[in-house]
């Protein structure tokens, strides 16, 4: 197996999923790159992508959703074989945001995550209709409080600003304040039904309700078109705008390929890689707004393949990727709160984005406080020789021969972490650190500690902040 095939597979799995152990990379690379892309896009595994049976017996509250939705989604990100499905859930969760701190209803939030899992790779038009009827969103952005004759602009505005068109493109505004008002009018009557009382019935998800009596039937003018528009008509107008194609393409690029400037800058700052964005925009229209088609083209493009280690990993990518690497949480156990605390300290608490704008990405993930948490978490995890994934790295390195030179030790660890690339200066420092004892004997008692310490310093590097 050529090492660069495995390196490319490591890249694909870090971006289209949450990373994979070396053995999985070998297996997938043997099957082929395009085949793996296809399998990620159209997974044929078990519908859940994993055996949920055991987990559901352990986390009994999942059946009732009294609590446990963060646990559930985290469990899936770690264990699902359908990795892109979980990655796309995280993608949309960061754009079509809702927040548990306002909703406080896990059953309702669960329904939204299921919407992303089911339709997140489908038509963007259908997804916008879905999210506009999603009870969590209707409540989160107050559309249930927007009435005929007394609109609440919250949803109408964010639908345009944050979910589809963006504020502006090529220096021009994409919509006016009047468009916000007219859009909001069109979504009046899109509300939620009265909730089922928790006592004595238990917890149920909120339900969408269209109330024609509360819908503004008047004529509206939106983005230059006039008619008696309802919400779906507005979405039909939105999705055919070039600005929407640009906005979604930039989001896909920023999430899967390379860090772009923050979203509020998109009006005035053109994409760095216009060629790839244009390619995605064309595919958006050609495929009738199909996300899967756009991703297929993207993953098979040179722009994607050449974008290794150009993105600063998000906290959730860091945490889930590390847990998958070391093989923790492959079976249920208590104490998952620890993972959520880490997400919070690193600045990306699942189900609680800081605002409807979602999380800022790229280097904005990193400040002094979040960096320290990120490094300590990764360092502590990979240096724990009790973890099965760490054991398997040690064994694989031991199997290469009776002894390892400092160079081979560092390079071997980098390979096992998914063919990580680091600068020559950094590599030199790591090799020097491991040179004091000279060659390490792979059957010596402290071989596992030696490997663990080398792994710990590698994940503390600047380079490891990237994926």
């Amino acid at each position: 197996m050529a090492e660069n095939d495995i390196a490319l597979m490591g890249h694909l799995m870090r971006r289209a999923g949450f990373g994979a152990q070396y053995e999985e990379l070998e297996t997938r690379a043997a099957k082929g790159y395009e085949e793996t892309v296809e399998e990620l896009l159209n997974p044929k595994d078990h519908p859940d992508g994993m055996d949920l049976d055991l987990a559901e017996r352990y986390f009994i509250e999942w059946n009732h959703f009294v609590r446990g939705v963060p646990e559930y989604i985290t469990w899936r990100m770690i264990n699902s074989a359908r990795q892109l499905e979980e990655k796309i859930v995280l993608f949309w969760h960061g754009i079509l945001c809702i927040s548990d701190s306002k909703l406080q209803s896990y059953p309702t939030e669960y329904e939204e995550l299921e919407l992303f899992r089911r339709d997140g790779l489908g038509s963007f038009r259908d997804l916008l209709v879905g999210i506009s009827k999603d009870p969590a969103m209707v409540y989160y952005l107050d559309n249930c409080l927007s009435h005929k004759g007394a609109i609440n602009e919250n949803y109408g505005r964010e639908l345009l600003e944050l979910f589809s068109l963006g504020v502006g493109m090529d220096g021009e505004f994409n919509y006016t304040e009047d468009d916000v008002k007219e859009c909001s009018r069109a979504f009046t009557g899109w509300t939620i039904a009265n909730s089922i009382p928790q006592q004595p019935y238990g917890r149920y998800a909120a339900q969408f309700l269209y109330n024609p009596d509360d819908h503004d039937e008047g004529e509206k003018t939106f983005l230059g078109e006039t008619g008696n528009f309802n919400g779906e008509d507005i979405i039909d107008i939105i999705v055919k705008q070039p600005a929407t194609a640009r906005f979604i393409s930039r989001h896909l690029y920023n999430f899967f390929v390379a860090d772009d400037v923050e979203v509020p800058s998109w009006m005035d700052t053109p994409p760095a890689d216009m060629e790839t964005i244009k390619m995605l925009e064309e595919e958006y229209f050609r495929s009738d707004y199909n996300i899967k088609s756009m991703l297929r083209l993207l993953f098979n493009s040179d722009a994607f393949k050449n974008a290794r280690f150009t993105k600063v990993k998000s906290p959730i990518e860091t945490i889930i990727g590390t847990l998958r690497l070391v093989g923790d949480w492959a079976t249920p156990k208590p104490g998952m709160e620890f993972i959520f605390d880490e997400m919070k300290y690193m600045g990306q608490e699942i189900l609680n984005p800081p605002s409807v704008e979602g999380w800022h990405t790229g280097k904005e993930w990193i400040d002094g406080g979040t960096l320290v948490h990120r490094i300590n978490f990764a360092a502590d995890s990979v240096s724990n020789t009790e973890f099965p994934g760490v054991k398997s790295i040690i064994k694989k390195l031991a199997d290469t021969g009776p002894s390892l030179s400092p160079e081979n030790l560092v390079d071997g660890c980098l390979r096992m972490l998914g063919e990580y690339e680091i600068s020559e200066e950094t590599r030199r420092m790591l090799v020097d650190q491991n040179s004091k004892g000279g060659e390490v004997l792979t059957d010596s008692d402290d071989f596992d500690t030696t490997v663990a310490e080398a792994l710990r310093m590698i994940v503390a590097t600047k380079e490891y902040l990237y994926a």
């Binding site: 605002s355 904005e364 400040d367 002094g368 979040t370 948490h373 502590d380 650190q433 310093m457 503390a460």
Partner: protein
């Protein structure tokens, strides 16, 4: 404790989400007020009157108390040219002080660079929060940003002290800037080195701190306590920043419940913070700026308010000449800007005043233009 003349310190409180200016400093005697606000109006007898025209929301009694002592400047009609009703773009404008074009670096970062050009103290600017606000992010400027004063320190998982020292030494070398590695790498390098240096010093701040003030248990109050701890530890910090979660004041709905709760929490925390400094004979060393990104729609939407324009900000401290500044925007229907309060007071005038009259800095290079100053500093 004797006090010698110390360097002036600016504490910035970012009260995100756009608090409703009209119900923060209330024009209670304006007949239009109760017409616009049938549900959300505060009755005149409940308003904490400043004069015959305006007064504080009842939940802001602690701030009214400071106002009565002459320590609060109320900056009315504050805003920026060509108001945008997006939280994020608007907050960017406040952070970068660049309303006309996209600014990439923060006004306070530039001020810190001015005060500490040789990066002698990584704690010249300290932020308490989750993520560094752009106001402090300026390339080549070191600032510390932490989620609290516990859990600091790099590679704390290494138990053996000599081994940890060795690891930190390599860490410092690995994070040393490399030539030609690009802005993101430079930023990561700088942040790594600053975290390494700053964490150990910051962690000492609570050790020397004793206080009779009991801060609230909420995150904002605790961060303000951290601000007090860092200031009182004498670490040379000049700009201390914290705030509410993004979107906290975004009261599109249920404003009658959320709004008083938030202002109550914020006002109490500010009062506690001021008292804490005063008890330590340090209140004359600090000026507080509290701001939000824009105001809210004059006409309520049912149970809340949508995004608006002109707002109100507060500057608080012993060095402040208390009172009302700027003009309260007119509520006459034809004077509104698309249904919003019309701003009349460029936010950069407040920034310029703080920079020049309080911090003793030249504001022009920091704000990239000259702005009229206001007389709210003694």
């Amino acid at each position: 404790m004797t006090s010698s003349k110390k360097d002036p310190v600016l504490v910035v409180l970012q009260l995100s989400g756009a608090y409703d200016a009209l119900n923060t400093v209330i024009p209670y005697s304006d007949p239009h007020y109760k017409d616009y606000r049938t549900v959300l109006k505060v009755e005149p007898e409940e308003v904490l009157a400043i004069d015959n025209n305006v007064g504080f929301h009842p939940s802001m009694a602690p701030i009214k108390g400071l106002y009565d002592q002459g320590k609060v400047a109320v900056i009315q009609g504050i805003g920026y040219p060509n108001p945008i009703r997006s939280h994020f773009r608007s907050m960017d404008i406040w952070h970068t002080a660049a309303p006309e074009k996209m600014g990439m670096d923060g006004w306070l970062g530039r001020a810190i660079g001015d005060m500490d050009p040789n990066k002698e103290n990584v704690l010249t600017g300290v932020n308490f929060g989750r993520g560094l606000p752009r106001a402090l992010a300026t390339s080549g400027v070191s600032v510390a940003s932490v989620g609290g004063l516990d859990q600091l320190g790099v590679l704390t998982g290494i138990d053996d002290q000599s081994q940890r020292t060795e690891a930190l030494d390599i860490f410092a070398r690995m994070y040393s800037p490399m030539i030609g590695s690009g802005p993101t790498n430079d930023y990561l390098s700088q942040t790594g080195l600053d975290a390494l240096k700053g964490a150990d010093i910051l962690a000492t701040a609570p050790e020397s701190y004793t206080s009779n003030v009991e801060y609230g248990g909420d995150q904002f109050s605790q961060w303000l306590k951290n601000v007090a701890q860092v200031h009182l530890a004498g670490l040379g910090s000049r700009v201390l920043y914290t705030g509410l979660n993004p979107g906290a004041f975004d009261t599109h709905a249920n404003q009658t419940t959320a709004f008083p709760q938030l202002w109550g929490q914020v006002s109490n925390a500010i009062e506690d913070f001021y008292q804490d400094l005063k008890d330590h004979d340090a209140s004359q060393e600090v000026v507080i700026l509290a701001f939000t990104e824009f105001g809210r729609r004059v006409l309520e939407n049912g149970s809340g308010t949508d995004h608006g324009s002109g707002s109100v900000a507060f500057v608080i401290g012993d060095a402040v000449e208390g009172g009302l500044y700027g003009e309260y925007p007119s509520l006459e229907p034809d004077k509104l800007d698309q249904g919003d309060l019309r701003w009349n007071n460029d936010f950069r005038s407040t920034y310029a005043t703080l920079l020049e009259k309080w911090m003793g800095l030249d504001s022009k290079p920091i704000l990239r233009d000259s702005f009229e100053q206001i007389d709210f500093i003694k």
